[in-house]
Symmetry: C2
Subunit: 391 residues, 2 copies
């Protein structure tokens, strides 16, 4: 059995706030929230980021989280235009018949969550607002993110990304490598032309951090290790770093003072960790039709997620089963059942959800000293929404 | 038979000024210059660039080119210290146990010709001289070059580079990809901190040109095509562009005016084409012990070199044999003999040498309007030496 299209582990009912989780192969009951498993549909023609917010709004309304739904609706009114401008600008990226170009556009056209450009826009709107420089920075952070995905997919030999074949499977590894290089250069060029103090230097440092975190992940790949320290080093370097930069750059473009900007950086860091923790959960509990990822994908790529680390700490006997999945890539019924059992019995999924909530809380706390208003409320909404996302 | 360690084609005696060419499998005679085939040895402890110049000096003296030998000797006296400073700075690049780091240092430690940093230093010395900014630019251009080699070796699945296993065969493809990313960022960071007008923007454009040229090469890879237009597009984008930038950046750091700097850019462009043409020759006539490359390596990687294009134009019947080498990678006795014959009969090697000489001449012509002095003479020496290099 390939655990590919269904959720492998269900969060315990008390914690379970998501809709659309199908029930794992081993689960004997349906939670109330699972009655309607169809997510709100994407609306063609809407800018990707707006579409995401609208779908999240629908999910929240469906969950009875009317307050959060209202806030998401306000957020669309607040930055919907920014997100549309962003999509138009991204779409203006040169387009020709070259392989490198087609590889890059293949990935960009698949959307994504546009969470990093959203961070840039909201940080800027906390100050002076959205202008050409903010637009350049928002596009840049999405391009840096896309460049790392293009290279990561080659490194991990990934076949699926955002619910479609990866660029490397369509246009080849070589074209993906060059496409990543190209998007990186295009990103740096945009940041450079903004001429904001320290912003390009900070991006160089962030990209370097990302590369070193990738290298650390590479060195530990395939090792069944319950090392939280390495896990958090990778999360800080690979994920949190870019969110930090997005907030700092947006804040600078919006003319914020250093104190406010550093609060935003703190917010970005915790948002990044929250995002990664929920990503880990989706690797085990997500609906692959919505996330576009195969379940157990991280483990099959030799990467330890936080729930697996917790399971290993508390149930050392699961080690040989995890080793089997690492070695074989194809997940047998027996192995999947055993890991799923271990994740349930050790409450590893709940612990990961707690990790996400803790850092979402720290992200919210970082916002407190900042001037109240729609931008701050929108940033709070992002942190609160992300922790329970199921897409 | 793998044509791996011997020269496959000998230049016609009238053109043959190199030493150290072993005689091809098909050649019935030895030229006078081939009596002593041992190249001057590297001297351990000498900076790489100085060592290269000293070896070239020995070769020229050996060939009876006393004037060129004297000029190379003067060049060592003139920029030997710069090249040593360069090597020390390159060696200061952070070094740790990470895979990405070890991959990068694996390539850097193998030396190379340091021709691009030499260009930066000489361009700067035509004006204000060698300082910290020139050093940063010289290191940057070598790092950009190294980054492209790390990515190219993954794309081409190359096993040998500079006479040693490629970084990717020692540390893996993934580490090579990240190492290339790292060196690229480190290069851009150095150029940025120089704060020279337009220099970083120009480097962004050059890297973009390189990526598009790589993409074009990728699209035509494995096609047996006698298309000179594509060949020159690739050479301009992949090779000449970096030399152009090295000359422009060095000139700017040296405080040259725009007129002089544009002459240097013109010089760099022609030097790059000369360099590529001689590289093509070494793929067919070189001594792999000195170049560190397998013979017919370009062809085996699916790349058409200039001599092969000429041979195809004049001897269309050789096409199926070239296709056989492209398909099989391993070069049979029969195929090697047939291509070697074609290259000889069509005088393709001589035509490639003429191409190199033409552009070396254009490089020299570009120097003419510049103020005379040791720097200009050294640049002329580089152009004259490179055309007949056999390492």
């Amino acid at each position: 059995m390939k655990v590919a299209t269904s959720s492998a582990v269900e969060r315990s009912p008390s914690e379970h706030v998501g809709v659309g989780h199908t029930v794992g192969p081993d689960s004997g009951h349906h939670s109330a929230a699972n009655v309607d498993s169809s997510p709100p549909e994407s609306v063609p023609g809407l800018p990707v980021g707006v579409d995401l917010l609208a779908r999240l709004e629908g999910i929240c309304a469906h969950r009875g989280l009317g307050n959060l739904a209202d806030r998401l609706s306000d957020m669309v009114a607040f930055i919907g235009q920014d997100l549309e401008t962003f999509e138009l600008e991204l779409d203006r990226l040169p387009r020709d018949a070259r392989l490198v170009n087609r590889s890059a556009h293949h990935l960009l056209a698949r959307g994504g969550k546009r969470l990093r450009p959203m961070c840039v826009a909201l940080a800027a709107r906390l100050g002076g607002g959205f202008d050409q420089r903010v637009l350049d920075l928002a596009v840049a952070v999405e391009l840096v993110h896309s460049a790392t995905l293009l290279h990561d997919d080659v490194v991990d030999l990934s076949e699926v990304r955002r619910g479609a074949p990866t660029a490397r499977t369509v246009y080849g590894n070589a074209a993906s490598i060059f496409a990543g290089d190209w998007l990186l250069i295009e990103a740096l060029r945009r940041v450079h032309r903004c001429q904001l103090p320290d912003t390009l230097e900070e991006l160089f440092s962030v990209i370097e951090e990302m590369i070193f975190a990738e290298s650390l992940q590479l060195e530990t790949r395939g090792l069944v290790s319950a090392d939280r320290d390495i896990y958090f080093q990778v999360v800080e370097g690979k994920t949190a770093s870019v969110f930090r930069w997005a907030m700092s750059a947006g804040g600078r473009a919006g003319g914020l003072g250093d104190d406010d900007r550093l609060q935003l950086v703190e917010y970005g860091r915790h948002l990044g960790i929250t995002f990664q923790a929920t990503d880990d959960l989706l690797d085990l509990t997500g609906d692959s039709a919505k996330t576009g990822k195969l379940l157990f994908a991280d483990l099959r790529e030799g990467k330890m997620t936080f729930p697996l680390i917790v399971a290993l700490e508390r149930d050392p006997d699961v080690r040989p089963v995890i080793e089997e999945i690492l070695a074989d890539e194809v997940v047998s019924d027996h192995a999947a059942d055993r890991v799923v059992n271990s994740l349930r019995e050790t409450r590893a999924v709940d612990e990961c959800l707690q990790l996400a909530r803790k850092h979402a809380g720290l992200a919210l706390a970082a916002l407190e000293p900042l001037p109240d208003g729609r931008a701050r409320r929108a940033l709070a909404t992002v942190a609160e929404t992300i922790v329970d996302r199921d897409l």
